[in-house]
Amino acid sequence: MTLFSRGVRALPSYALAVAALVSGGSALAQTITLPSPTTDFRTASGRTGTTEVIYGLSRADCEADLVYTFHPTIATWSTGEFQVWASNTADCKSKDARTATSNRQCWQVATPTPAFINGSLTVPIKGRDLVSYVGKSPPDVYTPADVTACTNQSGTAAVKITLYFLIVDSSSKEALGTGASYGLSTDLLAPSAPDITSIEVKNQALKVNWGTTTDVDILTYDICRDDGVPVASAGVIDAGTPDGAGLGVGGSACAPIGGDAGTTSTTGDAETTADAEATLDTGTPDASAIDASDTDVQVSPDITTTLTCASEGKGVTSHTFDGLDNDKVYTFVLKARDALGNQGDVGAAACQYASTTSNFFDAYSAAGGQAGGGFCSIGHGSLTGLTSIAMGVACLALLRRKRRS
């Protein structure tokens, strides 16, 4: 084989090497950087936790058509098209993940901006577009999502979506240069709350117990109560059972409050619930608060605005409401909330009333005992000698310490 013929046969290799060098040079030249998230990144969520969660997308965000505003900076943009892609499974810098005819795993989430603008861009991205094709086969072009995308989640656990800011070669569809990526947590389904299993009766207090749950998507429980109604007007008192009809009082007399009782809600359900609440809670049966929107929403409205609620962590299975009136029937509902603030449906409502208990001092007083009143209170005493002095000094010391504190 002559030197010439070997050179001819090697030409394709040279060409590929040169192309790679050109492509590489171009890639190095076009660099996209994203600034750190700030409050104008999106409207403040009020959440705490990781950046992914704070700036993440909840069901309410999606329904409110939240728009993220990114400000990527592009250096020496000289060729290609700026595109933003999203995926929860693949690296969208890969051409195949974006363009494969089958098993495509990335979808475009923003319309292309004018080419060749070096510096900072303003890129609005709709929250709905982030979640529109999770678990689905995405189209090969940008297709704006509507509100139905806000139901596109199979499990209650949050889904991490990664956004890819890329310069894409118009013809080869290869990603050019150094793209940027950003992860966001999305969660469209609220966790379900376990049922209230029992309510312990105390003096001016009720301790509500609930079962454990296997739902991993729970951050906190909201346990809420109404203002109560006197036992006399609450109906027949019977033993009750911890079934869906409520606990302890009147069997079915324990009507659900604050939202629909455990089923996927519709507008009608919520309004029916509001009616039920009106018969139980003469205080604030706020139907508008209960039926927050007329959309097909699985997440319940925020009942914490109309009821007295407490929040407990995921591992907690009880809460004691203190300072209640004895002989007043209170209705309790339990909701679960996830890290992105999605609040699930209330479980079955449960009712109970606190009762006056007797204690040792009652029994002692009833027997004629007259002790009590504290250590340094003024009273009749008979002391003599050193004992009196010692007790007096101790008393003064105690009073002085109390005054200091």
Partner: protein
């Protein structure tokens, strides 16, 4: 100096060598006090049963403590610190001491009016007592120190004080007239008991305990006592005292 004198001296020195070697060997069975650190104080960790004499208060129409808490007694936990200020030769030590303790009894608080739904009460009612004593303590440890008998009889006596409080679900109870269910009572305290010295079981460990930490003696003890707390600084007293027993560990150091 002649040869005979030198030879005699050498024989005497050789004969004395074994005796000198023996002197340098540890004498575990010799007087144990030879290795002891100074001993001035004692600490007792006390456990026992405590059932206050509430129902013995004159004038009570019933037995409220028994009605509420039944016949059971409560666990008493206490701590005592003694200063063995004076050693009486061939008898023992005497000095002041101070003791504090705690007991409480808690039970379910029944409903005043029985409920038709049969619900059980989740409330509790409690009586807690913090007894304390200012004592003179006499420990007759000559049996142990002089004759090696590991038993130390002792006697205590002094002023007893107790702070008491009755509460339900953590909140101090009160009477219908607003009198808070708490107070302080005082009286006298006398006790007698015996302590068994544990050093006899392992003198080597006991000596290490002394050399490393300074604890001369470790005892188990059993004590019977009467805390007659039937006077109040103000108002009427709750009979928070008791006659009972306590046992525990005693460390002298």
């Amino acid at each position: 100096m002649n040869l005979r004198f030198v030879t005699l001296n050498a024989i005497l020195m050789l004969a004395s060598l074994p005796a000198r070697a023996d002197e340098f060997a540890p004498k575990f069975h010799a007087d144990p006090r030879r290795f002891e650190s100074p001993q001035n104080f004692a600490v007792e960790l006390r456990l026992g049963r405590y059932r206050p004499s509430v129902d013995l208060e004159p004038g009570l129409k019933s037995q409220p403590y028994r009605e509420v808490f039944g016949d059971s007694a409560s666990l008493y936990m206490g701590l005592e610190f003694d200063w063995q200020a004076l050693r009486i030769p061939y008898f023992g030590t005497i000095g002041p001491g101070i003791a504090v303790g705690y007991m409480d009894n808690t039970t379910t608080a029944p409903f005043k009016v029985p409920r038709l739904d049969g619900a059980a009460s989740g409330s509790t009612t409690s009586l807690e007592i913090f007894p304390a004593q200012l004592l003179g303590v006499l420990r007759a440890d000559a049996l142990w120190r002089e004759w090696g008998i590991p038993v130390v009889p002792y006697f205590k006596g002094g002023l007893g004080v107790a702070r008491w409080r009755s509460f339900s679900d953590g909140i101090t109870s009160s009477s219908a007239s607003g009198v808070a269910a708490k107070g302080t009572v005082y009286g006298y305290y006398i006790a007698g008991g015996a302590a068994f010295n544990l050093n006899v079981f392992d003198r080597y460990t006991a000596r290490n305990f002394d050399q490393r930490i300074g604890v001369n003696n470790t005892y188990v003890f059993f004590e019977v006592y009467t805390a007659s707390l039937e006077s109040a600084f103000t108002g009427k007293p709750l009979y928070a005292g008791t006659t009972s027993w306590t046992a525990g560990l005693l460390f002298e150091f």
